[in-house]
C-alpha cells in the first residue's frame, strides 16, 4: 500500500471506514512527512499540529459513534494563508499582518468543517497573492518539489508544493490571474479555478475582488472534484456568490466526457511558448482527437490585451482593498510615527513588500482623477470584449484547451528583478479570470529536465463538470497522476 500521505481521498475513506487506520494516524502520517521534507520545501508559514490532531481525534470519535460526515471526514486539507480560519494566524504572507489571528472562519472553511475535514496549516504564497513564484513571501520562498532550485509557481505556491510533496492530501488556493492553475502546472498537480461566484469569497482576504476565486489543488482530478463539491454553494454573506443548484462533480466524471468538442485557440500557441510545452499540449490534443473528441481551431482575438487589462483592473481593486491595512486597528503599526499621516505611511511602508507596493501605486495611479477614463474605464471595456471572445467561442465548442504556462518552472531569482517577465507567466490564465470562467490545470507531460507540464482546460460558466470529466478522461489514460517527485 502507498503511504497514507500520498493516498487519494477514496482510498483514505475506505481505510478509515474499515478501521485500517484512524484519522489521527492519517494526520500523523502527514505531519511526519511534512517534518521530513519541510526544511527543503517550506510550503507552510504556520502549522498548528496540536489543533490538527485535535480535529483528527474528533473525526475518529464521530466515526466511532457512527456519525461519519462524508468523504472529507478526517481528511487533512491544507489552507492558503489568505483564507480566514478562526483563531489561526492570517497573514497573507505579509509582515503587515504579523501577529494577526482571524476571529472567524471563511465560508469555505465552515463548509469543510461541516464535512469533517481537518483544517491543516497555513500555506505559503506570494504576499497578498501578488506574484507568480511565491518568492514575494515575507516568510521565505517555497521550493518546487520536482527541483528544489526552482520556484513552485504562485501565488498559491505553498498549496501546490504541499500537495505535490505529500504534506497535505489536498489543499485550497486562490486564483486571481492564474494563482491556482500556474503553480499546479509547475508542481505537477491538478488545480482548478471555479466560475466566479460559485464559491463564497467571504473570509478570502481580497486582492482583486472581481477576479478572486477559491479553488482546489490535488493530485487527482477526482480529489479536486470532491473538494469543489464540499465548498460550493450560495453564501448570504457574499453578494457575488450565486445561487446555483448543487452539482455532484465527482459522480459526473465518467459520464459525459466522450465526443465533446474541444477548441484550440491559435493565439495561445504563438511566440513565447516553450517548445517542449507546445509539443506536450499538441500530443494531448492528438490523444483527445484519437479518442473521438472533435477538435476545432478557434480564435480569442483580444488575448494579447489580457495582461495590460488585468494589471489595470487587479491593481485598481487592490489599491482600495489593501487600504485597510493602515496601522490603526489590527495591522502592523510603525513605532516612529509622529502624526496620523505618518502612522499610515510608515506602517504601510514598513509592512508591505516591494511587489505589493508596486501594485498599490499602479492601482492608485490608474484610478486617479484625469487617468480613470484612459485606464480603468477603458480596461473595463476591453474586459467585456475578452468576455465576448469566449462567449463567441463557446457557441462552437464545449471546452477550450491551452497550455497553462508558457514555460516550465524557472529558477529561483531568475525573474524576480523583471516584473514584466514575471507577469507574462500568467499570459494563458489571466483571460479566464477576466471572463469569470472555470478552468483547471492538469499534468500532461514532463520536460527533459524532469519538470511538470500543465494543460489548461477552460469551460463555460458553471461548466465545471464538463472540464473535470474531460481532464479525468486524460488522467485515467495516462500515468502522470501517480508520478512523485524525489525530494
Amino acid at each position: 500500500m502507498t503511504d497514507l500521505f500520498y493516498s487519494d481521498i477514496s482510498t483514505l475513506n475506505k481505510g478509515l471506514d474499515s478501521k485500517s487506520f484512524s484519522a489521527v494516524e492519517l494526520m500523523q502520517s502527514v505531519i511526519d512527512r511534512t517534518d521530513a521534507v519541510e526544511a527543503k520545501i517550506n510550503a507552510f508559514v504556520d502549522r498548528d499540529i496540536e489543533d490538527a490532531l485535535k480535529q483528527a481525534r474528533a473525526s475518529d470519535e464521530r466515526r466511532a459513534r457512527g456519525e461519519n460526515l462524508g468523504a472529507f471526514d478526517g481528511i487533512p486539507v491544507g489552507i492558503k494563508d489568505i483564507l480566514a480560519v478562526k483563531d489561526q494566524s492570517l497573514r497573507c504572507a505579509s509582515k503587515v499582518l504579523e501577529g494577526y489571528r482571524s476571529p472567524y472562519d471563511a465560508t469555505c472553511i465552515t463548509k469543510l468543517r461541516n464535512a469533517g475535514a481537518v483544517i491543516w496549516g497555513r500555506l505559503n504564497m506570494d504576499e497578498f497573492a501578488m506574484g507568480s513564484s511565491t518568492e514575494n513571501s515575507a516568510y521565505g520562498v517555497t521550493a518546487n518539489p520536482w527541483n528544489l532550485e526552482c520556484i513552485p509557481g504562485g501565488s498559491s505556491g505553498g498549496s501546490a508544493a504541499a500537495v505535490s510533496a505529500g504534506e497535505a492530501i489536498v489543499s485550497l488556493g486562490t486564483d486571481t490571474g492564474g494563482s491556482i492553475r500556474q503553480p499546479a502546472a509547475l508542481c505537477g498537480v491538478v488545480g482548478m479555478k471555479p466560475t466566479y461566484g460559485l464559491i463564497s469569497r467571504y473570509g478570502l482576504v481580497a486582492f482583486a475582488s472581481s477576479l478572486d476565486q477559491v479553488g482546489p489543488l490535488s493530485r487527482s482530478v477526482k480529489d479536486s472534484a470532491l473538494l469543489l463539491e464540499a465548498i460550493t454553494g450560495h453564501d448570504p454573506l457574499d453578494s457575488t456568490s450565486l445561487n446555483q443548484a448543487k452539482v455532484d462533480y465527482s459522480s459526473a466524471l465518467d459520464a459525459t466526457a466522450k465526443k465533446k468538442t474541444l477548441g484550440v485557440p491559435k493565439e495561445f500557441f504563438q511566440e513565447g511558448i516553450d517548445p517542449e510545452i507546445k509539443e506536450a499540449i499538441e500530443k494531448a490534443i492528438d490523444w483527445y482527437r484519437s479518442e473521438g473528441y472533435a477538435i476545432e481551431e478557434i480564435s480569442l482575438p483580444h488575448s494579447e490585451l489580457c495582461v495590460p487589462v488585468y494589471y489595470i483592473i487587479a491593481t485598481a481593486e487592490a489599491s482600495s482593498n489593501l487600504a485597510r491595512f493602515d496601522g490603526v486597528r489590527y495591522s502592523h503599526r510603525s513605532k516612529d510615527a509622529e502624526n496620523i499621516l505618518e502612522l499610515f505611511s510608515k506602517s504601510r511602508g514598513e509592512g508591505f513588500g516591494e511587489e505589493v507596493k508596486r501594485r498599490i501605486i499602479l492601482g492608485t495611479y490608474v484610478l486617479s482623477s484625469g487617468y480613470y477614463d484612459a485606464y480603468y474605464l477603458r480596461a473595463q471595456k476591453v474586459r467585456s470584449l475578452i468576455r465576448q471572445d469566449f462567449e463567441q467561442a463557446f457557441t462552437k465548442v464545449d471546452a477550450i484547451i491551452t497550455p497553462t504556462t508558457p514555460t516550465p518552472a524557472f529558477k529561483r531569482g531568475e525573474k524576480s528583478d523583471d516584473p514584466l517577465a514575471m507577469y507574462l507567466n500568467d499570459i494563458y490564465t489571466i483571460s479566464v479570470n477576466l471572463a469569470g470562467l472555470p478552468a483547471l490545470s492538469l499534468p500532461v507531460g514532463m520536460t527533459q529536465n524532469n519538470l511538470p507540464i500543465g494543460m489548461q482546460v477552460i469551460g463555460k460558466a458553471f461548466g465545471e463538470a464538463d472540464i473535470l470529466s474531460i481532464a479525468h478522461d486524460f488522467e485515467i489514460n495516462h500515468g502522470y497522476k501517480d508520478m512523485r517527485p524525489q525530494i
Binding site: A84, S102, A323, I340
Partner: protein, 489 residues
Amino acid sequence: MKYEVVIGLEIHVQIKTKTKMFTAAPYHYGAEPNTLTDAVVLGLPGTLPVLNYEAIERCAKLGLMLGCEIAEVCKWDRKNYFYPDSPKNYQLTQNEQPLCIGGSVEIELPGAARNIQGEHRWVQLNRIHLEEDPGKLSHTAFDTLVDFNRAGVPLAEIVTEPDLYSSEEAVAFLNALRNLIVYTGISDCDMEKGQMRCDANVSLRLKGSEVLGTRTEMKNLNSISNVKASIEYEIKRQAKILDANESVIQETRRWDASKNTSFSLRSKEEAHDYRYFPDPDLMPVSMDRNRVDTMKKALSERPFDRQRRYQEKYSLPYTITSVLCADRELSDFFELALNYYDAPKAIANYIVNDLLRELSAHSEVGDSALSISDTKMKAESIAELVEVVESGLISKQIAKEVFTEMFVSGESPKVIIEKKDLSQNNDDSAIEALCLDAIANNPKAVAQYKEGNAKAINALKGPIMKATKGKANPATLDALLQKLIQASE
C-alpha cells in the same frame, strides 16, 4: 448689501433601521463605544458587505416623498481616502448613480410676525444618495479615540441645488426637511445625536448677476442655529473680501461653534482625489418598478399638505395648524380624536393649549418634552371632554381640572366627573335661592348693574360659584341673575 447670497446644502440623515447598511450589526444611539460592531463593521480581512434592503427601501420612500425620480438600479462606488474613522479607508457610497434624482422641498419663509403665515416656496434638490456613516473620533489631550458604533449606519445624503438665498431660507429649509423626514418615520433627525448633519456651500454674487460666485463649503454644522450663524458669518467674510476687490478662495472651512468663527480646513488644491470606482463586492440591484409604484401610492401626507387641509376643511387658524402640523404625533392624535367627536376647533384647542402645556409640565428638567405616547392620554378622552363641555355637563372651568386629572390618570372625563362629583348643578331652585341671597347681600353691585355696568354682575357670581364648588352652569346662572335683578325692582 450689493450682493446676492446663494446657498446649497448637503444634509446627511441617518436612516432608522434595525441593522447597519452592509451587515447585521445593530445600531442605536448612546451605546458603550465599540459595542455595536462586527467583523464587517471593523473591516477585518476577508469580510464583505451585504445590502440592507430595508435601508434602500426607506431611502427610496424619502425620495418619493420629495418628488425624486428613483433610479433604475441601485449601485455602489468606493470613495477612497485615508482617515482613522473609516475602517476600510474607503466609504461605500453612490457617486455615479444616486438612488434618488432631482426632487424638491416645500419651505415656509418667515412671516411678517410669528402668528402670520409666511410665503411658501419649493427648493430644488439635486439628488439623494445612500452611503455608510464612518465612525466617530474623540480627541483627548494625549490621544485620539475611535468609536466604530456609528460606522456603517445607513446614511442618506440630500444635496440641494444652489437654490437658497439667505440664512433664514436655509433654516426654513432644514426645518421643513426635518419635519417631513420625521413624518415619514425614516429618521428622528435629532441633530444633537448626529442623526442629521449639515454642510453649507455659500457664495456671493453681485445682485442681478447670473453667474455663481466662488463658493466655500462649511463643515461640522450640527445644529440649525449653527447653520444660521455660520452662513451669516461666511456672508460677512466673503462680502468683506469682495468689497476689497479680492477673490474668495474655493475651500472647505470648519465651523467652530464655541468661538463663533470658522477656519480653513483645506483649499481646492488640497482637496482629496477620492479615486471613485464601482464597488466590485456589491452587485447592482434593479429597483422593482411595481414596488416603487406601490410605495408611491402608499406615501403619507406631507406636513404642509396636512396644514392646508386643516385650514381649508376645518377652518383652523394658522396659529393652531402651525403648531399641530409641526408634530406628526400631535396631528395624528388630533385626527384620531376627530373620529370620536366632530369638533375640530375645540379639539385642536385642547391639544395645542392644554395637552402641550401638560406635556411640557410633566417632562424632566433638561429633557425634551414628553411625547403623547409616553403618557396615558387617549384621543377619545379629549373628544369626550369636548363633548361634555358642549352638552353643558361641565363648565370650561371644570374642564381644565378634568383635563389635568385625565392626563395623569388616563381615565375618561365621564369617569372623573362621576368620581369627583363635578357635574354642573342644574337644580334651578337651589341656585335661585343662592342668587336671591347674593342679590340681597350685594346691594352696591346690584345698583351698579342697574346703572348699566354689566360687569358688576360678576361680583354676584363669585360667591354662588364658591357655594356650588363651580358646578353652577355659568349660562344658566347669568340668565337667572338678570331675571331676578329685574324682578327685584
